[in-house]
């Protein structure tokens, strides 16, 4: 483990400086422990970080998340790729039960390639580490890696690209339809404070179909900073369901980027759910590049304590006849802070665009805060676009109605809160994941998950009575 230089005079230096210095000192180590395809863009990433800083080119973009503050502390970075002494298949029992999903782990930011599950995936499907993928499919890896998530578009992408050394890849070749989901669990573990840099690359060729569930868990009581870059490419008529579930810890900070490029008639259903975290920034960028493409982008945040979740989305309709449907809901309690900035951009040529954006939020206390900025930029004629935003409290009339039927107030609040999130869950198309999410959300509103904050994730897995898949 290499610690960042502790003697930095932070007052005179931007947060990114220490990472650039670290990289400059350890370039050889970073590259030797990675693969060519990941090393290629490092120089450009370094330059972007140097030019634009960690806040990136657009400072407005991070109004509600103090990136300098997030990246200022001195975290360890596992550049040597030391193994952490756990077998996630043994200690981590949190899976999607009985749906025959294939389960993979990324421990901190290293793909766990020992004790892999018996691979029941069809031929022509690759699911595994970026290292292995780069060896087996060097051309494909180079064609896609780093191509959706431009290092110049965001400081955290530049930083991640500079330091990331491994990742997870799902590559489904033409015409292959996966009926069962694939699950990737990112686990933060270890006793020392750590920065991890994670990558996920999803490539679906023509007519391919897949469901991917990506979980973000924490089994440690240490402080973590996780950067994550997910790139999704769907070719013509491909179909992807992508569920991103964060259930980390109050001491976890995460900056996630999901960048998606969709070709004609492809459809992508992304759901991002935050059940437990410290500070989270989720960036989504969807490019609808081919006619007839469809995007469902949805998410929900259940936050209490001093949790903070800031969502930023940009959906661009580049071509005619595409449809996007965006729905984000926040349930905030205690002193939680939520932010939603969603922009739908309709290019000049993108006639017959259909888009809808909805953001609805519940604030249970006077101390929680919700900042919402829905934005709709239309540069084409003949489009059908709508957006709406509301922030309020639980319906008092409904609450009283339930109490009159004998349901205790706390239970009634829980039922109404779960109900509030129901339409977001409905956007998850695979029933098994939907059911699992519902259970997790009910438990979350019952306060059962908050124990994860102490780093005893096994305890709540036991309570949830989840069986391992394998």
């Amino acid at each position: 483990m290499i610690g960042l230089n502790q003697n930095l005079n932070k007052l005179n230096m931007s947060a990114e400086k220490q990472y650039i210095d670290l990289y400059d000192q350890a370039t050889q180590m970073v590259c030797d422990n990675s693969v060519n395809v990941m090393n290629l863009p490092r120089f450009a990433a370094r330059q972007a970080l140097l030019d634009k800083g960690i806040v990136g080119p657009d400072t407005e973009r991070y109004r509600h998340t103090d990136m300098e503050k997030i990246f200022a502390p001195d975290y360890g970075v596992n550049l040597k790729r030391m193994n952490f002494p756990i077998n996630p298949y043994d200690v981590f029992k949190c899976g999607v039960p009985n749906i025959g999903s294939t389960l993979f782990f990324v421990v901190n930011d290293t793909f766990y390639n020992k004790d892999l599950p018996k691979n029941n995936l069809p031929k022509n499907v690759f699911a595994g580490s970026l290292h292995q993928f780069a060896e087996e499919f060097p051309d494909i890896a180079e064609k896609y890696y780093g191509k959706a998530a431009d290092v110049k578009s965001d400081g955290s992408i530049a930083l991640n690209t500079l330091l990331a050394q491994d990742g997870f890849v799902l590559y489904v070749r033409e015409g292959i339809q996966l009926d069962h989901p694939i699950q990737v669990v990112h686990i933060a573990t270890g006793k020392t404070d750590l920065m991890t840099n994670r990558r996920v690359l999803v490539i679906l060729e023509r007519n391919a179909k897949a469901t991917l569930l990506v979980c973000d868990h924490n089994m440690s009581s240490a402080t973590f900073l996780n950067t994550q870059v997910t790139e999704i490419f769907t070719d013509e008529n491909a179909s992807l369901d992508y569920t991103d579930l964060e259930e980390s810890s109050l001491k976890t900070t995460r900056v996630s980027n999901i960048y998606t490029q969709q070709k004609a008639h492809s459809n992508v259903w992304i759901n991002g759910t935050t059940l437990l975290n410290g500070t989270t920034r989720n960036n989504y960028q969807i490019d609808l590049d081919g006619e007839g493409a469809y995007t469902s982008l949805s998410g929900m945040v259940i936050a209490d304590n001093k949790q903070k979740v800031d969502t930023h989305s940009l959906i661009t309709h580049h071509v005619p006849h595409c449809e996007s449907n965006e729905l984000f809901k926040y349930v905030l309690n205690d002193e939680a802070i939520g932010a939603f900035n969603g922009r739908v951009l309709v290019d000049r040529d993108a006639i017959k665009t259909v888009s809808n954006q909805t953001n609805r939020n519940l604030c249970a206390t006077n101390k929680c805060r919700m900042y919402s900025e829905p934005q709709l930029v239309i540069n084409a004629d003949d489009v059908k676009c709508s957006h709406g935003m509301t922030t309020g409290q639980l319906d008092e009339n409904a609450l009283f109605y339930m109490r009159q039927r004998g349901i205790p107030e706390a239970t009634a609040r829980k039922i109404l809160s779960v109900a509030f999130t129901a339409d977001v869950i409905d956007r998850v198309r695979l029933e098994a994941i939907r059911t699992r999410l519902t259970t997790l959300i009910e438990d979350r509103f019952s306060g059962k998950l908050s124990r994860c904050a102490t780093g005893t994730c096994k305890t709540c897995s036991k309570n949830l009575n989840i069986k391992n898949l394998h």
Binding site: D395, N397, A398, F400, Y401, M402, R403, Q404, R405, G406, I407, P408, E409, T411, A412, I415, L416, V418, A419, F420, A422, D423
Partner: protein, 249 residues
Amino acid sequence: MLEIKNLHAEINGKEILKGINLTVKEGETHAIMGPNGSGKSTLSSVLVGDPKFKVTQGTITYNGKNLLELEPEDRSREGIFLSFQYPVEIPGVSMVNFMRAAVNAHREYNGEQPVSATDFLRLTRQKRKLLELDGKLASRSVNEGFSGGEKKRNEIFQMAMLEPKLAILDETDSGLDIDALRIVANGVNKLKTPQNAAIVITHYQRLLDYIKPDIVHVLYNGQIVKTDGPELAQLLEKNGYDWIKSEFK
């Protein structure tokens, strides 16, 4: 069973109930009639503990307990049921989950185990039949998209499920056509036993053709100004409320 003494209540600082006295015994059906704005719905809201209303004076004793000290959910679990004048729509909460939560909350209060899935299903089917309710409503969100008649039948269905000791029907007849009225009233009558009681709040005598009251009260300007047998309802139907208004100006 229920004894209300000198009850005063207000909403937003405006006094609505100005000294109600009312005694309801087991096995009795009381009708409370009166013109608009006389305080009928306020009385029912106060009985079930609606936090919008504030009781400023008086006492309510229910089965020996000080009702005003009980939370709304505990009043329900002690056997008080209100059929709402305007049943609330709860999007995202299915009727079946809602009802199971309510039934189990009552059972828990009485120290019983939660109802089993099969027992609950059987109970539901049986009670639904009583109200001629479509089974499809069970999977729909509570009251959402229900017609006026369905909402009211759904109220009485819930009453059948919870088997209250004291049922308060707040203008259950409003918005009902004659067939729905008959179904609702039949439901109420079938649930009647010598051990329970009902307070029926209505504008019109129409409902009382189906649900026969033992005692009829007239509420006017926050007070009960007349109490008599069922014939009082007939009189009001014939002469309206004007004669009462002039008498108590």
